[in-house]
Symmetry: none
Subunit: 225 residues, 2 copies
Amino acid sequence: METKPRKVLIADDEPDILEILKYNLAAEGYEVITAKDGDEALEKARRTQPDLIVLDIMMPKKTGVEVCQLLRSQAGFKETLIIFLTAVNDEGTQIKGLETGADDYVSKPISPKVFMSRVNALFRRLNKTEARILKIENMTIDPERFIVMVGDTEVILAKKEFELLYLLALKPGRVFLRNEILNQVWGNDVIVGDRTIDVHIRKIRQKLGVDCITTVKGVGYKFEL
Amino acid sequence: METKPRKVLIADDEPDILEILKYNLAAEGYEVITAKDGDEALEKARRTQPDLIVLDIMMPKKTGVEVCQLLRSQAGFKETLIIFLTAVNDEGTQIKGLETGADDYVSKPISPKVFMSRVNALFRRLNKTEARILKIENMTIDPERFIVMVGDTEVILAKKEFELLYLLALKPGRVFLRNEILNQVWGNDVIVGDRTIDVHIRKIRQKLGVDCITTVKGVGYKFEL
DNA sequence: AGTTTTTATTAAGTCTGGGTAAACAAATAC
DNA sequence: GTATTTGTTTACCCAGACTTAATAAAAACT
């Protein structure tokens, strides 16, 4: 199965490293975007929506850690793969890196071979949890087409409604706390009142015309047909 | 299925190499055009619109790198395949070559066997994303003739309009994010405002007179008849 | 039952994002 | 060179998505 090339954004202030990594990634068919400081990395990440972001820890403008934190806190970058590069082989930094939400960690001096195997490993892992079409009984939720089918009638949900339903339907039966819902759908940093969720739930129930969301009082909601 | 022969332009100042490559390419059915310096290469490239350009790095008048940069910077040569030939087996030059926008790189002394396998590999890669005629219900989108037929009336779209419609129609129903659209139609590095997409969408809808593009607010657009 | 807590519903209000037209710029044709 | 077509930017408008707040209903607890 052939698929469109993975996009990789590399951010490092050392042109040599950018070149080496770019060359190796390109050689394996990745599409490469480069940035030379933290701000540029942020900007290009938002614009190009890469599949993987390689961040040098020590960079001008913003450090890799800062960039990572900023990205992770906003919608659309929750799932993006992030790898840190660092000259310090300091375990403390490594731990801090992974805690910030990075997926892997490569220390300089970088062996292209090692680097590429890490990259490939991450993508291999990702493939298993990619966005997919959900089918529960007579309901189909297709994130690619952004539609929900109930029986054979198409239901159109708004963005937040869809994301909320998709989240719940990912694990039918499992209860999602209001906090989880807020984090996943709205993002860690966004502050919205609790009632907002209720309103969206109501609209979903209304539009679908099927009672598939169960309230678990004092806890949260779950998807259940 | 019979198809018209691939055109290959070879530019090198060494007559021997020109001959060898020409012989091998012709033997596999390629149509070959030759040039003996950078200027001639540029001129013939523009005139004959080849599918693949083989450029020697070291050439009189203009180097291969210069020719490549000039071509890549103008419309019509963004997708053209480019292979560099070089005597120097210097990795620095190789990297610079690929960054300039070349698709592959062959070092001298050239083994005809290796060379041909690289050429064929490039075309194979290209084939997978090759332009093909799309037919969706009563609409035909022909990227070769740059024509859209709705019913039996011909609609003429401008370049960007066409590319945008073609992209969406490649996967009917699938939502394309604004980012994806920008990347695919405009390119990673080009910075254009978000409204630009809207305006093009509007012109397409207007010209086609058929509502075939659906807006998914906050997400993107999809083709849907 | 009465009280408290939590959720549902409704009706606003706000705000974002897309539509549209017109002006400007750039590329292309003439 | 000028004219024309194409591409982009800008600004304004509006629909509908989203949020909030207020009230009603339903559980949960005493």
